[in-house]
Structure formats: structure tokens, C-alpha cells
Symmetry: C2
Subunit: 202 residues, 2 copies
Amino acid sequence: MGISERKEREKQDMIKLILDEAMKLFIEEGYENVTMRKIADRIEYSATTIYLYFKDKSEIFYSLLKIAFDKFYESQLSVQNIPDPKERLMAHGLVYIKFAMNNPNYYELMFILDDPVTKMNCPEDWQTSTRTYDLLKKNIQECMDAGCIEKADIEVVAFGLWSLVHGIATLMIKRGFMVPEPFREYLIYNSIQYIFSGVIMK
Amino acid sequence: MGISERKEREKQDMIKLILDEAMKLFIEEGYENVTMRKIADRIEYSATTIYLYFKDKSEIFYSLLKIAFDKFYESQLSVQNIPDPKERLMAHGLVYIKFAMNNPNYYELMFILDDPVTKMNCPEDWQTSTRTYDLLKKNIQECMDAGCIEKADIEVVAFGLWSLVHGIATLMIKRGFMVPEPFREYLIYNSIQYIFSGVIMK
DNA sequence: TTGACAAACTTAACAATGTTAAGTATATTT
DNA sequence: AAATATACTTAACATTGTTAAGTTTGTCAA
């Protein structure tokens, strides 16, 4: 009988509907400003219905977390065709920050907010997130192999460069208003440029 | 007559009482977990009394913000007696991160949370916060003068180095659990070391 | 086809939050 | 001593996430 299949399909449709509307709201308004009742309004069901498909609010946004990491990974790939490893590494950093500033709510979800991340328990959950980090390490390794940058523990270098771009991203997202607009791009590009050209050997 | 003076004194005492208890709660539990009623319990007044002394919750923590920035500045000073400019700059970075990790709730208040910062309107408010940044710029300038690091727009270099340590700090505070404990200190120290020794000229 | 049962969904409600309005003591002034 | 201003409290509101209880709808066996 196809009834249970249909039911399963309907259930998946409902989950997708909730996630889609939650995502739209979230991108526009951010985690704290998305309420269960707002989502309920959008999907045209009562708020409690959502609890039949998700344990609680953070579980909804834990699902969105995976989508965010996928989009994030996708954006990083765009840089992988650059042949010169040191140019690629620099572009990698820039595209990282660009993603963060174009998708501040995604970025907050992935790297700042506590709530939905607590749902990440199984190690395979991290795989989506570590994919991008592996990409960075790969690019660093190729720079080392090509003699562009000083050889060292790759974990150390990756963490350092990640911290740099993460720092720029979070400062711009959270305290960007401190920097007058036409100056922001200048600061971002040149500070990365300065530090990278220190790390990269002549 | 001394009545109005006494009243003014009592008012200031009350403000101090509220701030003291709010601060204690805040350091232990963080902004979101401090409620008006919890503060009220501690000071042994009703919750609404607090509103006679502060406009709203964020204004209380805006007051704490200044205290946090003062403590922050104080901690940075400890490094200013190091004679060698490049060693001083490196130590500056390390002490920055140390403060952030020892006072994660202060740090969040200063550089991550949105709410209390919105109360900062007058330009003199920023002075407490820019003091530390000026200190960094001074140290960078001395490094340039001594020929330790490549000459460039000081705003660019300061922003880059700040982003680096801010990135490390926020990653450790917000996603530190991803890094196994004995590995954290190693990552922090060596990644800073690596990037600094790139920036610093041999 | 109908009656029992399960699944899907809603309404009502709870406790906690920040915050406001109205009321009550207490202190000051005239 | 009466009038008034000050300090504080109680009650309440709207909003939040979430749970419990009730209702409707769909499915299946007789």
C-alpha cells in the first residue's frame, strides 16, 4: 500500500515548508527575532504544530545550519581554480569575508550563536563544517609545497589564518558601524594584503 | 540644606548597588541570563524599582561596558614596559587573548553583543574603548620606526592585527569546545607566533 | 458502510521575560 | 498639621518558548 509512503512524503513536505519559511525569516531578521508564532503564521498552521516536526526552536535552526555550511562551502569553491597557490590563498581569505558580509545571519549561525550548535552531537555533523576547513588546509599545504610560505604545523597555520578572516568578519558584522562606509572595503582588503604578504615569502 | 545632597548620595548609592549586583550576576551568567528580577532579588528591592534608576536593561549593561573597557585597558598596560617593540607587540597580542579568555562575558559585552552598545551615542563614550586601540597603534608605530615591520597605513596594520587576536578570542570563546583542551594554548601561541614572525622583518 | 482507533492539528494555558500603570507608603515642605 | 513630592511596590500586559488537553480528520477492520 502507498498510504504510508504518501504520509511520509507529506511529512517531509511539511518539514521542508517549515524550514523554508524559517530560513526566509531568519535571513531577514536573525535568530532572536524569529519566533515560533511568526513561522506558524507563514506556514499557515498553529505554532504548536511545529513541535510535531521539530523538538524545539534550536533544532529548526540546527537544520538550517547544515544548509548554511553547504552554501558557505560552495562559495569557497569558486576560488579553487586559481592556479597560483599564494594568489589562491589570498583570494580564499577574501571570498570568506565576502560570504560573511553578504550573509551575516548565516555567519552568525555558523560561528557565533550558541543555541543551535548545541544540537550538534554526532561527529558526522561536523563533516559539513570541516569540509571548508580541509579546503583551507589543502591550499596552505600547497603553498608550503610550492615554497610560498614558511613550513610549520598545518593546524597552526590554518587556525591562524582562519582567525584572521574570522576576526575581520565578526568585527565588520558586529562593530562595522564604527568604521565609516567608504573605508571598510579599504581596511579589509589592505589589512589582509599586509598580513598575507608578511606570511608569504618573497 | 544638606537634604538634597544626602538624597543625591542615596541615589548614587542605589545606582552603585544595582550595578554591583548586576555585574556579579553578569560575570557569572552572561547578559542573556541576567534578568531584572534576579537583580531585584539581589538588591532586595522590587524589579520595577530598577527602572527608577535605569531606563531599561541595556542601559544597565551599557554602564558595565565602561567598567569592562577600563579593566581591559588596565590589562593591556601590563605589557607596556617591555623595551623591545616587536616583543612588546607580540606580548600585546597574547595579553589581549588572555583577557578575553579569562573574562569571556566582558569580552562579549565589548565586542560581540549588540544590545548595550546601541546606547553608545555620544562620541566621548568611545574614548574609553579607543584608548586601548590607540595603545596598539602606538606600539605598531614604534615597530615601524624601529624598522621591525613593513611601513604601511597604521590604520590598516592595526585593524589587521586586532582582527587576528579578536578572531582567536571569539573562536575560542564561542567554538573552543571544538578544540581538545591541551591543544588550545598550543594553537593560540603558535598561530600568533607564526603570523607575527611573518609580519616582523628579520 | 460503519464504528473503533490513530494521526494531525488546534486551543488553552504555563512560566519566564522586559516593561508600564496605578496605587501606597514615606519623607519633605509649607 | 495639611499638602505635596519622593521612593517604592503590586498588579498587570504583551511577548517569548513550550506542554497538556481536546478536537477534527483520516485509516482500517468488521
